[in-house]
Amino acid sequence: MCLAIPARLVEYLDEDRMFGKVELGGVQRRINTLLLVGPDACEPGEYVLVHVGFALSKISEEEAKDQLRILGEMGSAYAEELQAIGESLSLDLADTEGSVLSVSPQEVRP
């Protein structure tokens, strides 16, 4: 019900921009575009969210890029951390000698 799908606005079908042609999943449909004003004003070629035959809002390419950049950084920070933990010598399971920790526990504990 609250599901909406992204579609590319191909063109407006009337001068008043009441209806527009969108392309989604390889098919073209006519949808109502009256809500695409103000911050959601949209030009052909841009993307909109379609809900029950109406363009609910514009999808901002800039904001999407921004979000993907943040997500990418979060993901890569995690990948780097994984790599770092993998390369850490002191955490090597094969290091049975415990060379780094070759001190008595009393010396380390506060």
Partner: protein, 383 residues
Amino acid sequence: MKFADEFRDADLARALGARIAAESGDRHWKIMEVCGGHTHTIFKYGIEDLLPSNVELVHGPGCPVCVIPMGRLDDGIALARDPEVIFTCFGDLMRVPGANGSLLDAKAEGADVRMVYSPLDALKLAKENPDRKVVFYAIGFETTAPSTALTLLHARAQGVKNFFVFCNHVTIIPPMKAILDSPDLRLDGFLGPGHVSSVVGIRPYEFVTTTYNKPVVVVGFEPLDILQGVHMVMRQILEGRCEVENQYKRVVHDEGNPKSLEVLARVFSIRPHFEWRGLGFISQSALQLRDEFADHDAEKAFTVPGVRVADPKACQCGEVLKGVLKPWECKVFGTACTPETPIGTCMVSSEGACAAYYNFGRYSRSRDRERVLAGSAANGERG
């Protein structure tokens, strides 16, 4: 599909899940996703499998079909049985059981019930059948209500007098408040409904942060949106912040969509009371057509029974909608109540928590998860 696929990247989702796990510490987190669309994404993409066992997602009341009480559905079925009427509704509603069968049963018995994708389809039917009365059974939150409003304005402009709306539009804030006031549930924060917010903006949730001291993050509907939203709620709490944040900036403006708000105000007024399945009567929680649209108001143009019907005794949709019960904790889940023969609404709609658990096979995994949680809680008490 652009703006969908890139937000479904599996590696990135795993990385986010691991990050949430690393930052979640040893406390138990309970975060409610308000919208049924989120519930659907969470099960479809197995988000819970990516989250650590101490981060629990609680499914909220934001499923438009689920919250319709049986009496309102029976009113619809009564309208559908009128021989003059072509009754139209979204597909989700067709199988919802009323006191004496569903709309699908009524259709089998000869009622002219038609499934539509858009209210504009219903308007088109009205234009094509000037000798019949076409009733559109309108449901949905603020996401869908502007579509109904615009359709009515089109009907009026085109002089289509045989188009009627049976209005069951509801608003999201009152049930959120009811849940926050309920003593049954301890929540840490909310994932706010993305598409409702594209209409109303993010300001209406401020009371959750100021009055109830819970963070709200408005989130989108792709898997990475949900995971990022969970992480943002956690960061707020860990950093001692309590704000309304917008994760879904590519669609949601802080002020909402001014045109949608304008047409909502022009066509609808607030109902003094509306009954919600499981939540009971909530004041000022639903919309009705303004008097100037009385000619198109099915509640005024037809005689509707308006009888209040209690939910079936075995059905625990109310507890599921409030997030108090997990779907599989309901006595009839998966036995007497299945998507083919549902007893309650949560098993019917694709956004219902029960249907999501059932259809995506999350049942056994979720139970395993529950056992882990119960075990760690017991250990915690002993410690």
